[in-house]
Amino acid sequence: MRSVICCHARNVAAGRQNTTFSRREMRGIEYAMDRRTFLFWMSSVPAFAVVAGAPATASGETLRIAAASSFADAAEDLGAAFARSTGIKTIINAASSSTLARQIANGAAADVFLSANRDWADWLADKGRLDADSLQVFAGNQLVLAVPAGRSIQAAGLEDSLKALKGGWIATGDPEHVPLGQYARDALIGEGVWDKVRSRLIPTDNARAALRLVASGHVAAGIVYASDARAADLEIAFVFPPADPPIAYVAGLVSSAPAGPRFLAFLASDAGTFVLCRHGLTLPESRPC
Amino acid sequence: MLEVEVHHRAGGFALDVGVSVGDGVTALFGRSGAGKSMLVAMIAGLMQPARGRIVLNGRVLFDSETSIDLPARRRRVGVVFQEARLFPHLSVRRNLLYGQWAGGRRNAPDLGAICDLLGLETLLDRSPDTLSGGEAQRVAIGRALLSAPDILLLDEPLSQLDGARRAEILPWLDRLAHEAGTPILYVSHALDEITRLADDLIVISDGGIVASGPVEEVISRIDLGPATGRHEAGSLLRGQISRHDEAYSLTVLSLDGQELTVPAIAGEAGTPVRLRIRARDVALALERPLKISIRNILAVTIAEIAFEDGPFAEVLTRVGEQYLRARITRCSAEELGLAPGAQAYALIKSVAIVRPTLASR
């Protein structure tokens, strides 16, 4: 870059209007800029820095919510409703409950944790990063075997449905750590088909990824949450019986932000449960929607 | 027998050439940029002329009329380049035999014979990186010979070597010229190499042939001044060793019935020798001078005189069947009244005769 400026300056000084660089000069600078362009870009760097580095506002005005990926859409709507009623903005970070728990344990900033199962919330509480007393179950869900739209299979019962898939791949969360996968494994064990099916499973990093694989038609079927399947317009081949213990979404406080408890209260309020029901989730204690 | 006729234009340079190359060593001489390397590339098949015809031993290598253009590998033209171009990852032996194991050439000379000819036995298992310039060129020559070519082109093979290396390799080239059996086209801008090695000489200048013929004839022609360079102009004479004078370390040569005395050289009586005499070392007289230190006084007949713009005149004289050139001042030429047909005497300082070399024929 420096040589460009120097050559340019020399040329201008020598009274040459058009700065045609000599062959040797050109070879070293393939993307030569004239001086004016260079100075423009250099002066705009500070401007970018100011804009990009805008620091987060004080956490009193924003609430950071770490939400399980299967819950992401509902969390967005809840956050918007919460903001409308309280004026407190929310920032949603959605990923698998496992990923979020590990991030928070390693120091990621969050105020509220919405986990798709109890285990991860307990794990985080054991690490001292979550207030165990604040844990509350706020929603439930159902597990379904779904197939891509337009590929409905005519079969009743799980075994027949699985046979009808002709050995194709079945996407679900990774049973090693994703709540969806753990629920799916428990359900398949409960139905007595786990050993047959496990080699056909594609384990994904989060519930959303499993849903996308089914929705895009790249896999034959998926074991996903009923709420997600409906939201993505998938054909439902089989509905798993309610799990025991049931699928439970739990919420807990990670930080001491005052807005946190207000959000947890909002989850249980009429406005909150309205949003939950609209997204196909069930309510705790079998409350109707 | 190689017959070449090519025409080509490239970037303002025009090459229009027609030559015939027969047995023995034919030298192609010209200044840098005269078109020599271009011609070599065209004969070898590395460059395509715009128009023309190249025939080697009756095989058509290139003919623009009938769209024949044999690729280099099928022409059986051996080339030795200025830089040896040895393959660095192969041993000298594998390099030498490349034409046979990779080029599929049959009927090649025996490896042992070529090694003898060029002194390569001790180099066979070495890597090309470790060879000196002269050794590398000898290997390159051997490699070209072992590919059983119908003709050998040497494109300024010594131009990248220093004086010592060139002196080292010239005797080998001499032997090659005698004993190889393959016709050789030797391209060079060094007159001393040519006078030592060549039988025939073709002079090329500015993309055109200006002279061709036996080397002794061509080299003494006056009108070649611009092509050959004034400084080097001279004559080539052929003679025989007559006897040796041990006491004074001299050798007497006989030349068309006359005698020349030179510093002692090796050789038996009757051995043919070739002499290079620079025109500026020759003086002329109308009478045979007495009481003079110059021993070599030859009776000559004036054949041609060329007066130049400057102070000099070039005089071509005949000694028997051979030609000897002299460079004297215009003033002296007029004072002496020299004219074609006149009898005169050429005075050549003994010590000015270039060290005689063994003639190739």
């Binding site: 698998s96 496992s98 990923t99 728990a101 590990r102 285990d119 991860w120 794990w123 791949w169 996407a171 990774d174 090693e176 750590h177 994703v178 499973l201 594609i202 384990p203 994904t204 990093d205 694989l213 895009s216 038609g217 790249h218 896999v219 | 070898a44 098949g45 590395l46 690729p71 280099a72 590998r73 099928r74 022409r75 059986r76 033209v77 051996g78 080339v79 380049f81 830089e83 171009r85 393959f87 660095p88 990852h89 490349y98 034409g99 990779a102 080029g103 599929g104 050439r105 890597s127 990186d129 490699r143 070209a144 590919s147």
Partner: protein, 228 residues
């Protein structure tokens, strides 16, 4: 002692990277030679395509592979119907992803190596009677070999460690496509997976270092042989 998970991830990584190299190398030799030596229409476009996986986020490359070679993809469907070959979610698909990501890293050193071979030597070989194919195998290729080895080392290391494209195109199926990189990723998600993650990382490090070391050794042997 290596756990079964580690062994599975290791053998899978070697299989995937090995197949990727076996298929990518001849293509890279051809592409490298073409880029170094030939002039042809569309050369600039070809260059951009070859280096695209280097500049795109790996996940994007994986996604494009899914679109083209996946069960719904044009080529993927054709492969399944005519050859019975399925790549998505298979270790062969992981090899494809790894090969595509490693390809630019192979081509660049190879193209440089071919460009560095003195074409005057090739001319000389021609005058000695060698056909173009012979010249390539006896002269060009051996002279370019050290550079080619460097490319292979780079490409193999990249194929071993490939993550983004693999997990997107071939998914993270244990025993089928869960290579070392994916196994480390999965271990990190587990509540108690730290030790396993470290162990797998050590294995990945050793294998990568070994691959690079071997290739450097081979290249230096070649250079030394020439100097002898």
């Amino acid at each position: 002692m290596l756990s079964t998970e580690a062994v599975s991830a290791l053998t899978l990584s070697l299989k995937v990277a090995g197949l990727a190299m076996v298929v990518a190398l001849p293509l890279a030799l051809f592409a490298g030679y073409a880029l170094a030596r030939w002039r042809f229409p569309g050369k600039a476009l070809l260059t951009v395509l070859i280096y695209l996986p280097l500049v795109l986020p790996p996940v994007v490359t994986g996604y494009m592979l899914l679109i083209i070679f996946g069960p719904n993809g044009a080529i993927g469907r054709w492969l399944e119907q005519s050859l019975g070959l399925v790549l998505a979610f298979r270790w062969t698909g992981a090899a494809l992803a790894a090969g595509v990501m490693a390809f630019p890293l192979l081509v660049r050193p190879i193209a440089l190596a071919f460009a560095a071979v003195d074409q005057r030597l090739e001319d000389a070989a021609g005058t000695l009677g060698a056909k173009p194919g012979t010249v390539f195998f006896t002269l060009t290729l051996p002279l370019a070999a050290p550079g080619i080895f460097a490319g292979v080392a780079l490409g193999f290391a990249k194929a071993l460690g490939e993550f983004g494209a693999t997990i997107t195109f071939a998914a993270n199926i244990p025993g089928e496509t869960r290579t070392l990189a994916l196994a480390v990723h999965t271990a990190l998600q587990r509540p108690d997976g730290d030790m396993l993650a470290i162990g797998l990382s050590m294995i990945a490090l050793s294998v990568g270092a070994l691959a690079v070391g071997l290739s450097e050794f081979a290249a230096s042997r070649l250079r030394r042989k020439r100097r002898a």
